[in-house]
């Protein structure tokens, strides 16, 4: 079987398209590359969605944590402590145990033109359950990074905003928030990289793989198990993740440049030169 044929058969196997059965014997390098790469779709999906939604909760958490009012501050502190203070491995396990205990019901949500039924049993599937855990986890980490950055906003910036008569929402949106992002960006980049790495834990602990649809580590594990040779699949996995990490760095670097575009060339902080605070 040619390699191109293998890619057609297994390229989208991890999301349920193509051959139903995984290769069983005479494993070629091409098969290993294709399937592990196919599993990477899940890692990217988990990472992108969790980061995307997590960004907003993180901003809210950072603001709540720096609020004067203890009714806002205490819950935010507790949330951040709980998720930053425990290993993700254990969070996955506990979350799955809780999700399976929930009563299996469907809730109808009217969307105006149509109605969708949200079912709690989806929570025990990785595509939703793991996203929720990763989302809460990254929100807590990012919230702490943003909180740290918020505390480091130069007081001159705030005073200048006051002098311009900016208050409340306008002052936050136009002065404090952009500065916070600029300060937090290097650490946030690291957090994003860590989150993508953490997605390998999804099928490894806690969430079961259905119909052999798993992430990159799941397939690497499959091949290591079938060939009894860990020295081929895991380095392939490592190679894929290095590429993924490089893309994350490139993307976040581009955003970093945009965040700092008002500064003269040589004063723009280069990304990751001064790795900051707390993941």
């Amino acid at each position: 079987m040619s390699c191109w044929q293998t890619i057609q058969d297994y390229g989208l196997r991890s999301i349920g398209f193509g051959e139903r059965l995984l290769p069983k014997s005479d494993f070629t390098l091409c098969e290993q590359f294709t399937l592990i790469g196919s599993g990477l779709i899940w890692n990217v999906y988990f990472g992108v969605i969790a980061l995307g939604i997590g960004f907003f909760l993180a901003t809210a958490l950072a603001l709540a944590k720096s609020a004067e009012n203890p009714a806002l501050r205490k819950p935010a502190e507790l949330f951040i402590f709980l998720f930053r203070g425990s290993p993700l491995f254990i969070q996955f396990f506990l979350a799955y145990e809780i999700f399976v205990l929930l009563p299996k019901v469907g809730v109808d949500i009217p969307l105006g033109f149509t109605e969708i039924t949200v079912e709690t049993r989806w929570l025990t599937k990785a595509w939703l359950g793991a996203i929720i855990v990763l989302f809460l986890n990254t929100s807590a980490y990012t919230g702490e990074i943003f909180y740290g950055a918020l505390r480091s906003v130069p007081k001159g910036d705030v005073e200048a905003a006051d002098a311009y008569g900016l208050t409340g929402w306008a002052r936050f949106k136009r002065v404090i928030w952009p500065t916070m992002l600029r300060l937090a960006w290097p650490a946030y980049t690291n957090e994003a990289i860590f989150l993508f790495h953490a997605t390998t834990l999804v099928f490894f602990s806690g969430f079961p793989a259905w119909q052999q649809k798993g992430d990159a580590l799941y397939y690497a594990n499959y091949f290591a198990d079938k060939t009894f040779n860990p020295f081929v699949p895991y380095p392939i996995l490592a190679g894929y993740f290095i590429l993924l990490t490089l893309s994350v760095i490139a993307l976040f670097g581009a955003i970093n440049n945009r965040l700092n575009r008002h500064l003269p060339q040589d004063r723009r902080p280069k990304l990751r030169i001064r790795p900051q605070i707390i993941r």
């Binding site: 402590f81 918020l150 007081k155 895991y234 290095i242 001064r274 900051q276 993941r279």
Partner: protein, 293 residues
């Protein structure tokens, strides 16, 4: 443990639990908490050493060394730690045995790799197959420490490298003006000053290290996750203390342990950070200034 534990099947609940929680297996579970702490205590300085080496190499004038340093930090940081753990221990073990084989049995004729088998001469085995079990376990533990140190050393190298570059240039230029050579500038001016800049990143790394320890069971060390799974799993009456699936309770126990550990670390690190932001022209510095009458 207790004298009434001889026949656990007809004990009252309290006594049953006092027997159950003091079985040899549970004692091993409690010991494994010590293993985790030991690992953290040994790995942290080792990783720091690796990090320092990596950062110094990345700054080196000598190009191959510089490439090596940069490749080490960027490759290892680009790979999920779990992927490393899954094959690194075997790789390290084979590498050590291969080296010993070359030294100790130079006139060995058979190939080392026979198919998938990895065969070295008897003297090159690490540890020797005649050595007692505790030697094997210590060796396994040290391999785990080394693996952790290599992975976290790469992160530490990145932090330290950044901190070295954060030391103000004029400081180094002044040192040169005083007639110090490169080596002197590095050891006498750069290294003492960089720690202040490295501290936030390093303390962060410490927290990540704590939270990576549940993966220790992948490295063949019987850690707390291994025991929690083992003890919590369903026990039929083959066992002296049969019980249902109690993994949830054991994992909740682990959760409490980790929360406690991070809480203690966080308190200590927060104190250090507060000291550092004292007098800085930032919001937190400003709050501190206003707080003092």
């Amino acid at each position: 443990m207790f004298s009434f534990c001889t026949d656990p099947s007809d004990l009252a609940q309290f006594q049953w639990f006092s027997c159950y929680l003091t079985t040899g297996k549970h004692l091993a579970f409690y010991t494994s908490f010590g293993t985790i702490m030991l690992l953290l205590v040994i790995t942290a300085p080792t990783a720091l050493l690796f990090g320092f080496g990596g950062a110094s190499a990345a700054r080196s004038q000598f190009a191959p060394l510089r490439w090596f340093g940069k490749a080490y930090t960027s490759i290892v940081r680009g790979v999920p730690d779990i992927a490393f753990f899954l094959f690194f221990v075997i790789a390290l073990d084979q590498a050590f045995e291969w080296m010993r084989h070359k030294v100790k049995c130079p006139d060995w004729q058979d190939p080392i790799r026979q198919g998938i088998d990895f065969v070295v001469c008897r003297d090159a085995k690490l540890p020797l197959s005649s050595s007692p079990q505790w030697v094997h376990e210590t060796y396994g533990f040290l391999l785990a420490v080394l693996t952790f140190a290599i992975v976290f050393g790469a992160f530490a190298a990145n932090v330290i490298y950044g901190a070295m570059r954060a030391v103000p240039k004029p400081q180094l230029e002044t040192a040169e003006a005083y007639g110090m050579n490169n080596r002197q500038v590095f050891w006498r001016v750069l290294v003492p000053q960089m720690w202040v800049f490295a501290l936030p990143g390093l303390s962060n790394l410490w927290m990540i290290l704590i939270k990576a320890t549940p993966l220790l069971f992948l490295l063949g060390v019987e850690d707390i996750v291994y025991w929690a799974r083992e003890l919590g799993g369903l026990k039929t009456s083959v066992f002296t203390y049969p019980h249902a699936d109690w993994r949830l309770w054991y994992f909740l126990g682990l959760l409490v342990f980790y929360l406690g550990l991070t809480h203690v670390s966080e308190t200590i690190l927060a104190r250090l950070t507060r000291r550092l932001s004292h007098g800085q022209a930032t919001i937190s510095g400003e709050q501190q200034r206003k707080a003092t009458p």
